[in-house]
Symmetry: C2
Subunit: 145 residues, 2 copies
């Protein structure tokens, strides 16, 4: 749990970096055996991308890893993953997802569990607050066109 | 149906281009109101990417489109979409997916239907054959690490 908080703080750092870039404050970090493999953040606004969510950005930044590495990994994400990102977790064979908050979005935690993925929700104000503020100020970006 | 075949042939062209690049023969095309918005192909091998499936490539190539455009669109893909790509379809609000074949892979057609997406399976040998051959020759790329 203490380690989970440490890694989640790195995901929060990514979220805040995204906010400063004019993007959505959502970050993610991929970790295996106590080491950070990659970090990423939502870049929909920054890159005019429809799909570059934080988890996708993080997994793409990690590049293609051996199945054995994914099998030991945990994906930290500040916001509960959408259906696409949950599918990416299953596709990669990541066995554990730690979520910062799921009050602003929640769609796929049951799906992840049904696929055998361990899902931990930390419910942190450091994740929930910036996201809530962002949705209030930029509903256009949040609802996305 | 005739138009579907025409667009699917463009997705097959993408798949064959991918094969010639050393990648998996899977292609996709996004169409709305009789016009091609974007095309894409699986680039896992070409880009050392874990997630750049044909559907993702196609949707990223289209850029971020207005919700009203997605709402009129059809995504053509030579192979039945994985959970991530099906999630991307739902995320974008694409109401119709036309699939070239689902014998080499099938995971998410029921999910798509449960989300209100129309799913059409053409079951074409032009899609199935190259994919079957590829899986037989390059199981390392297909099973992915």
């Amino acid at each position: 749990m203490e380690r989970d908080m440490e890694w989640m703080n790195k995901a929060v750092d990514q979220a805040i970096t995204g906010l400063h870039e004019g993007g959505m404050p959502i970050g993610a970090v991929l970790v295996a055996e106590g080491k950070e493999l990659a970090a990423g953040r939502n870049r929909l606004a920054q890159w005019d991308s429809p799909l570059r969510h934080a988890e996708i950005d993080c997994l793409e930044n990690a590049g293609s890893l051996p199945a054995a590495t994914y099998a030991k990994s945990t994906l930290y994400t500040t916001l509960s993953p959408c259906q696409m990102c949950a599918g990416a977790v299953v596709l990669c064979g990541i066995p554990r997802v730690v979520i910062g908050e799921n009050r602003n979005w929640r769609s796929s935690e049951d799906f992840l569990r049904s696929e055998g993925v361990e899902v931990v929700v930390l419910d942190l104000e450091d994740c929930h607050g910036p996201m809530s503020d962002f949705i209030a100020v930029r509903p256009d970006l949040w609802t996305w066109g």
